[in-house]
């Protein structure tokens, strides 16, 4: 993932009492954790608060990290449970944006986006915008697979499902992402060709 001491070397330093070494782990994973939480919260302030909470939880239970899986897989398991708890607390509607009503909302948002933002945004941001239109479950699995370098086996561990279920979920999430891209960013996609 990056140069410098390995995750397990940093963890053993922290467990020996060098608490400042934990900052290296935070620096290394903050963007990955923040991106994942942002997929759930859809709000930067909440994502920042939840991400901070995740790193504090991980620090407090660091002695329980056995090293049998990658540190990132263990950390993303905490991300998954914390975000689900957050959504329950906030009583957010975790349903997919696939129903007609939300499509209307998305259409309205889309017209605003087109006028003000999308034209100026890079194609990379266009993908993030499309992912933001997905349900948290779909957005999470796509982020874990593409951005957080997790294999399907590791994703199944994080989500607590069978590897085959994770594979099917990923396929479906990508299909829905493709639909969103075609629906809301068709012009931008044409420009790419």
């Amino acid at each position: 993932m990056s140069a410098g001491p390995s995750d397990s070397e940093i963890i053993s330093l922290v467990l020996k009492g060098d608490h400042n070494a934990y900052a290296l782990l935070v620096e290394r994973y903050k963007s990955y954790v923040f991106t994942l939480t942002f997929r759930f919260t859809k709000n930067r302030e909440d994502a920042e608060e939840v991400s901070q909470d995740i790193f504090v939880k991980a620090y407090r239970s660091l002695a329980d990290f056995k090293g049998t899986a990658k540190f990132s897989t263990w950390l993303y398991t905490i991300v998954n449970t914390t975000c689900i708890t957050f959504l329950r607390k906030k009583r957010l509607d975790v349903k997919s944006l696939d129903d007609e009503r939300t499509f209307e909302v998305a259409d309205n948002q889309d017209s605003g986006l087109r006028a003000n933002q999308v034209e100026q945004k890079s194609r990379l941001n266009m993908v993030n915008q499309a992912i933001a239109l997905l349900s948290p479950d779909d957005a999470e699995i796509i982020t874990l697979f593409y951005k957080n370098e997790q294999s399907l086996e590791e994703i199944s561990q994080i989500l607590g499902v069978e590897a085959n279920t994770a594979k099917v979920r990923l396929h479906r999430a990508r299909t829905r992402l493709k639909e969103k891209m075609e629906r809301y960013f068709s012009e931008e996609i044409k420009d790419l060709h």
Partner: protein, 170 residues
């Protein structure tokens, strides 16, 4: 038709992810070369794959790491779960229940009249059993008392360990 479309998508995603078997991969390569629909679908999915792969990560605020470090300064790392789960207590509870179960089994078998076999009828009328009589038996009372004492000892050990832990934390 829809099912067929999903099947094509699934096979192509597996191919793109590098999860197809060698035979499947070569079959798909052939289909992409020869079939226009497969070729077009493959191009679409690959484009999406590459777009998502190259998308940027979201970044938290510049103060994020500092905030986390300030927050964790208030806490201590909790001991590993295996350190505070006392195996002796787990074993004690296990032995307690096994003793209870075995005791009842021995008592039950002790009550059976093994010479009463051969009849279709049960040797005793279950509806007329006086259950109160079982607990007048000295052996049963002694057995129950041993179990109660064992249970109280376990509870005492558990509470003592918890008190000690709380005192340490204070």
């Amino acid at each position: 038709m829809e099912e067929n479309k999903n099947n094509v998508d699934d096979r192509l995603w597996e191919f793109i992810d590098g999860q197809s078997s060698i035979e499947e991969a070569s079959a798909i390569e052939k289909l992409i070369e020869t079939n226009k629909q497969w070729k077009e679908k493959y191009r679409e999915l690959l484009e999406l794959h590459q777009l998502v792969q190259s998308s940027a990560l979201e970044e938290p605020s510049l103060r994020f790491t500092k905030n986390v470090m300030e927050e964790i300064a208030k806490y201590q790392i909790a001991p590993a779960a295996k350190a505070y789960i006392n195996n002796k207590i787990i074993w004690g509870i296990g032995i307690f229940f096994i003793t209870l179960f075995v005791g009842f089994l021995i008592y039950g078998f002790g009550q059976v009249d093994w010479n009463a076999g051969g009849n279709d009828k049960l040797p005793i009328d279950i509806s007329k059993v006086d259950y109160g009589k079982f607990f007048n038996n000295t052996y049963v009372n002694v057995f129950m008392m041993i179990n109660v004492v064992l249970g109280l000892m376990l509870l005492d050990r558990y509470l003592a360990a918890k008190k000690k832990k709380l005192q340490k934390e204070a």
